[in-house]
Symmetry: C2
Subunit: 216 residues, 2 copies
């Protein structure tokens, strides 16, 4: 249905479209014009038409976009019907927050294990998932056919654990550590959440008074 | 020193440059070529030269970049010497993780208060900062000249608390809630951390096998 190659900026916007369309669906909305969508999302209508053109023949002049099928199509482009098996490494505050707050199932993932090397944490549970010793990683990953590792470890701990996971065969990472995995491993898939970087960008925006109306 | 307008993609890369240069400094490195920097950062050397050209006359042909002054200049462009006063709203796992793990002082901020509306949390402390009742927000913000609010509240709670903060006069937000502030307030400065969106992008990358070597 959709074209083969979607550019990185469009991919980054897809989850937002998906969220907005999901809200519209919940509110019983059946169709929406690019104008209305642009008001809701703070993008220009022409930007939205361009984005949505990337993946199919949606929308008719004067009619608008069919909310349900567009929502479904974007979900399928994102691959959300998958159940990639994920493990989380690091059961500190951040790991706990991720394990508790993220709706993995509706985002294409299943959280199957949590690991730490702190004896005080091992044996505990988060959200009914037992916290295991990182020494059990290899066996666990093989038994459960794990696809993805979520790194919620401090930067200092990241190189060793990343190397261990890479050797076990893990090639996909949701990386919260400030360790740049992609510089060390070229054949991995990685999505970074660098909170300190985000805070520095906020500092820049405040210092330069870059408001939402500037498209930020 | 630097030109007036730096494009959004360059701004997003600045924190990474800053981190890398900081590591080089710690390791006693005095100068670095764009080639070495590109190997370390996984960007092309020409991309790096282009980026660094945006903000001044750094680097000499055949000599490379002076690490310390470049680090200092990027820090000053980011505005990291500020001490913007921030409060954090929502003392759950995520709020706790943010309060504990983020080095505010070296990122231009000072965390001066934490707020929640849960009676079980109010009166407790995180990192020696007392958790106060959100009913005290207005008085606190006036007394402490607060600049920034960090929203670690659930999406459902976000509209009300955002409106309250906006009325008090807060115009800068580090937004972890999945509520799109910028759609509702045009004159605010906002930096979003949408974890669920990030996870969906990871799902897309895995489903389409987009590895780090593709520039992701």
């Amino acid at each position: 249905m959709h074209k083969d190659k979607i550019s990185a900026p469009v991919i980054k916007r897809l989850p937002r479209y998906y969220r907005f369309l999901g809200e519209l669906l919940e509110n019983g909305c059946k169709k929406i014009s690019s104008r209305e969508l642009s008001d809701k999302m703070g993008l220009t209508a022409s930007q939205i038409r361009q984005d949505l053109n990337c993946f199919g023949e949606f929308g008719q002049q004067g009619y608008g976009y069919p909310v349900e099928s567009l929502h479904h199509e974007i979900g399928s482009i994102l691959g959300l019907s998958h159940r990639y098996k994920a493990i989380l490494i690091g059961a500190g505050n951040l790991g706990k927050a991720v394990a508790v707050h993220i709706s993995f199932a509706s985002r294409g993932f299943q959280l199957v294990g949590i690991f730490d090397n702190d004896p005080d944490k091992i044996g505990g549970t988060i959200h009914d998932i037992p916290i295991k010793d990182t020494s059990e990683l290899e066996q666990f990953c093989q038994e459960h056919l794990v696809n993805v590792a979520i790194l919620c470890v401090p930067k200092e701990a990241a190189p060793d654990i990343a190397e261990q996971l890479y050797r076990i065969g893990i090639r996909s990472f949701w990386n919260f550590s400030h360790y740049d995995l992609s510089v060390h491993y070229q054949d991995i898939i990685v999505e970074n959440v660098h909170l300190n970087d985000s805070l520095m960008v906020l500092c820049y925006k405040i210092s330069n008074n870059e408001t939402a109306s500037d498209g930020n």
